[in-house]
C-alpha cells in the first residue's frame, strides 16, 4: 500500500516535470534519470518541430481521396 502511494507520488512528480519541460522551463529541479530523459525527449521534439516549420511535408493526396470518395463511392476511395 505504501509502495503504491510512493509510486503515485513519483508518477505525479515526473508528470509535473514533463509539464515544465514542455513549457520550456529548463530550471530542472528533478535530476532523476527519467526526468533527464524526459528533458532530452522534449528537446528533440522541439528541435524536430522547428525543422518542420522550416520545411512542411508535402501531402496533397487528400483532395484526390475526397474526389474519389465523392465520385465513386466508398470502396473506390481506397484506390488513391
Amino acid at each position: 500500500m505504501e509502495h503504491r502511494q510512493e509510486n503515485r507520488e513519483r508518477d505525479e512528480r515526473l508528470d509535473q516535470e514533463i509539464d515544465r519541460v514542455l513549457a520550456g522551463d529548463s530550471s530542472a529541479p528533478d535530476d532523476t534519470l527519467t526526468a533527464q530523459l524526459a528533458r532530452e525527449f522534449a528537446r528533440l521534439a522541439a528541435e524536430q518541430a522547428r525543422a518542420r516549420r522550416s520545411g512542411a511535408r508535402g501531402g496533397a493526396a487528400i483532395h484526390f481521396i475526397f474526389y474519389r470518395r465523392s465520385r465513386g463511392g466508398r470502396r473506390s476511395a481506397r484506390r488513391y
Binding site: L33, A42, Q48, S70
Partner: protein, 196 residues
C-alpha cells in the same frame, strides 16, 4: 494545455464532415495529417510506407466518420483519440501483414535505477530515442509520442485513450524508466569492460 481545436469548432467541423462537406474534411486533414504522419513514421521508420498509412487513415476516416459519435465529453479530444486510434490499428495491422513484428517489448521497468540521480551525461540523438522507443509496448509508445511530440497533457491523453489520468502517468513513468535503462546500461557495460 494543448489546444488543437476549440470544442465548438470541433463540433461544427465534425458535423459538416459527417455530411461529407469537402471543406470540413480538408480542415480535418490539415489539422491531423502531419500529426498522424509523424506518429506513424516515428513508429515504423519507413517514410513512403508512413505516407501510405497516413493516407489510409484518412480513407478510413472518410468511410467511418458518419458513424463516429464523440459522446458527451470534449469533442476535440474524442475526435483526436479516434483518429489516432485508427492510426494505431493500421500500424498494428501493418506489422502483422509484413510479419515484421517488432522485437518483443521489454517488461515494464519499475526499478529504482531510473529514479537515481545518475547523470545521463549525453545529449541523445533522435536515433537513440527511436531505438529505445521501439522496445516499449505499443501503448507506452503511443502515450510518449502523444505527450512529447504532440504536447498533450496526461489528462488529455487519458480522455483520448479512455483511461484514467493516474494510469497514463504510471504508463509514462514506466516507459521512461525502461528507456532510461536501455539508454544507460550499454554505457555502464562499456565502462565495466573498459570500452568507451
Amino acid at each position: 494545455m494543448h489546444e488543437l481545436l476549440p470544442p465548438a469548432e470541433a463540433r461544427e467541423v465534425l458535423r459538416r464532415a459527417q455530411a461529407y462537406e469537402e471543406r470540413a474534411l480538408t480542415r480535418l486533414y490539415q489539422l491531423f495529417s502531419d500529426r498522424i504522419f509523424r506518429f506513424i513514421y516515428y513508429r515504423i521508420q519507413d517514410r513512403p510506407r508512413a505516407e501510405e498509412l497516413t493516407n489510409e487513415v484518412f480513407v478510413r476516416l472518410l468511410e467511418n466518420v458518419e458513424n463516429f459519435r464523440p459522446g458527451g465529453g470534449d469533442v476535440t479530444l474524442a475526435l483526436t483519440g479516434w483518429i489516432f486510434t485508427i492510426a494505431r490499428n493500421l500500424i498494428i495491422d501493418d506489422y502483422r501483414r509484413q510479419k515484421k513484428r517488432a522485437a518483443e517489448p521489454l517488461p515494464d521497468d519499475d526499478t529504482d535505477l531510473a529514479d537515481e540521480t545518475l547523470d545521463l551525461d549525453v545529449r541523445l540523438t533522435r536515433a537513440d530515442l527511436q531505438i529505445a522507443l521501439a522496445q516499449l509496448t505499443e501503448e507506452q509508445q503511443t502515450v510518449l509520442l502523444l505527450r512529447f511530440e504532440e504536447g498533450f497533457t496526461s489528462a488529455q491523453i487519458a480522455t483520448m485513450l479512455g483511461k484514467t489520468d493516474m494510469a497514463i502517468k504510471a504508463l509514462q513513468r514506466r516507459a521512461l524508466a525502461t528507456m532510461a535503462r536501455l539508454l544507460t546500461l550499454p554505457r555502464a557495460d562499456a565502462a565495466r569492460t573498459g570500452m568507451s
